[in-house]
């Protein structure tokens, strides 16, 4: 996976929970592209269609709170979300996203500086986020090297497969 991403933003508010990201009734679906058809549909039924072109989700505090369902970040990833930038994340969602290779970055203040439709550029290794449309730049703490490595490999499973003794 490339460590630099560009794309238009779609913005949401605080406390976007995993039931809203992917409702429980769809958890029996196994095909991630089927999950993707329902991503964030209760907030915006058109979201899966909008995300298809490749978007960056921007949100407020506590993004992904609630259930441990990995189907939530999977639905976002397969809908076309390239990364999620939020003021803060619920911890299980944060780990799940990294583990399935969906980059997530905590960026305090981001939700006040981005509007839906703004063109964003993100450099994970450097911890740089740029709102190209508004000409604003943010520096965030970079993720620890072993997490960047998991993301670069495309997820935890791919990362584990590379390790010789799998431990």
């Amino acid at each position: 996976m490339s460590m630099k991403i560009k794309g238009p933003a779609i913005k949401f508010g605080n406390n976007i929970d995993t039931d809203v990201i992917l409702p429980g009734q769809y958890l029996v679906l196994v095909d991630p592209y089927e999950l993707a058809k329902h991503a964030l549909e209760s907030l915006d039924p058109a979201f899966p269609e909008k995300a298809k072109k490749g978007v960056i989700v921007v949100a407020g505090k506590n993004f992904g709170c609630g259930s441990s369902r990995e189907q939530a970040p999977l639905a976002l990833k397969y809908a076309g979300v390239k990364c999620v930038l939020a003021e803060s994340f619920a911890r299980i969602f944060f780990r799940n996203a990294i583990n399935i290779g969906l980059p997530v970055i905590e960026c305090i203040g981001i939700s006040n500086e981005v509007e839906t439709g703004d063109e964003l550029a993100v450099d994970f290794e450097a911890g740089k986020i740029e709102n190209i449309s508004k000409g604003k730049k943010f520096q965030v703490d970079t993720l620890p090297p072993f997490i960047l490595e998991i993301l670069a490999d495309g997820g935890l499973i791919e990362n584990l497969r590379r390790r010789p003794n799998k431990k």
């Binding site: 039931d19 709170c65 990995e70 499973i157």
Partner: protein
């Protein structure tokens, strides 16, 4: 160090750990269920490891979509049964277990001082026994299957000191709703919530489990309570594993906390979390006139025998309101049988409630008792998010078993203390 730090230090082979430090911890026990397990199995197969690291340390519980409500769910169950068979894992199948978070301690898989991970966010329930327990996702579960290890950031801790005696019909559920109402749903993100104080000391395991269960609803990594004689009594005859010295699991006097919050329950009123956030908490009298179509008593938060006794005490000799459907779901087969023996199921049935088999039920909107648009449900479960129990147009209120039972009788959200006064 506090209790969480002590457990994480031991699990990672260190003398001490500090908040913010990332440790590689050995996992003592893990759990997957029917909705998170299949993805974990699929991911595990991709890693290229034949066997799970220790088949005595992995438990499978089928509880979310049971009995299978669709062919798709049946196939997920089939996947998990096959995996359990291939790997020689303990599996609690339909009719043999119940809700994972009730089954795990009941069947002796939860031991104080251990590290437990589960592919379910409410795994934090086991903190009630003085274990470090936290929820993980499916891919992470696959990695634990393969390695028996997990990286964890040592959390900062919030101390929640609770004093006072509960009034009648005011419960640990009301306490935890009140705590979340103050801390808010993001107030404990990445943190440990340590419950302590005389009220906790005097609380049953059921009540402690309700508290720790909902720690995740304020974002906490884990909820935890020092183990004591109440813990030991619960575990007696349930686990064959050696228990650690509980003295070694007490937080040190100079343990560091990010902050300490004080709660006095002696004047606490029944609490209700209103739509659609768990921190939108009001006292039952502030809620006002809210008519309901469904009442649900059950879930990993409040489906234990103590909860059912309380609900039965309220419902005994009464009928639920004509236009209200009431569902009662004992959290496990053991709870079901106990409720049967104590005559509680008869009380529920006579009251016009439907008693269902032990499972997660409507809590997560999978099946059993989903809601249509514009319907209102008052529930003893743990989340009232939009669409959680079916239609995105439905409304969910969270409350204690006493408040839900009283509401079922009157058809609107009701203070259980006032219902008693009337009859």
């Amino acid at each position: 160090m506090n209790i969480t730090e002590k457990i994480l230090a031991k699990a990672s082979g260190k003398k001490t750990v500090r908040p913010g430090e990332i440790v590689d911890a050995n996992v003592d026990m893990m759990m997957v269920h029917d909705l998170t397990g299949p993805l974990a199995v699929e991911a595990f197969k991709k890693i290229g490891v034949e066997k799970v690291w220790d088949n005595q340390k992995v438990v499978v519980v089928l509880d979310h979509q049971v009995p299978a409500e669709s062919v798709k769910a049946a196939e997920l169950h089939q996947t998990m049964r096959q995996f359990a068979k291939d790997q020689k894992l303990r599996i609690y199948d339909v009719g043999r277990g119940g809700i994972c978070h009730q089954v795990m301690p009941e069947k002796g898989h939860v031991v104080p001082g251990t590290v437990i991970v589960g592919a379910d966010s409410h795994t934090c329930t086991y903190g009630a026994f003085g274990a470090f327990a936290t929820g993980i996702g499916s891919t992470e579960a696959a990695a634990v299957f393969a390695t028996g290890k997990i990286w964890l950031k040592v959390p900062e801790a919030i101390k929640i000191n609770v004093t006072g005696e509960f009034q009648e019909y005011v419960t640990p559920k009301d306490l935890i709703l009140s705590i979340i109402g103050r801390i808010k749903v993001d107030g404990a993100i990445y943190k440990s919530a340590e419950f302590t104080g005389p009220t906790i000391k005097n609380m049953s395991m059921a009540g402690r489990m309700t508290l720790c269960n909902m720690a995740v609803e304020m974002g906490a990594k884990n909820g935890i309570i020092e183990p004591d004689e109440t813990t030991r009594k619960f575990l007696e005859g349930r686990t064959s594993k050696a228990l650690p010295n509980f003295e070694s699991l007490k937080s040190d006097k100079d343990a560091v906390y990010e902050r300490t919050l004080e709660f006095d329950v002696s004047k606490m009123e029944p609490q209700v979390a209103c739509p659609s956030s768990v921190d939108n908490v009001k006292t039952v009298s502030e809620v006002g006139n809210v008519s309901i179509e469904q009442a649900f008593i059950g879930s990993c938060t409040n489906g234990r025998i103590e909860d059912l006794r309380l609900a039965a005490q309220v419902l005994k000799g009464k009928r639920v309101k004509d236009n209200v459907r009431t569902l009662v779901i004992p959290a496990s087969q053991e709870v079901y049988k106990q409720a049967l023996n104590e005559g509680l199921l008869e009380i529920f049935t006579d009251a016009g409630a439907m008693v269902c088999g032990s499972a997660c039920g409507p809590c997560l909107g999978g099946h059993i008792g989903l809601l249509a648009a514009d319907e209102v449900c008052v529930s003893t479960s743990n989340r009232n998010f939009i669409g959680r129990m079916g239609s995105t147009q439905a409304s969910l209120y969270l409350a204690s078993p006493a408040t839900v039972a009283a509401s079922a009788v009157t058809g609107k959200i009701t203070d259980p203390r006032k219902l008693e006064a009337k009859t």
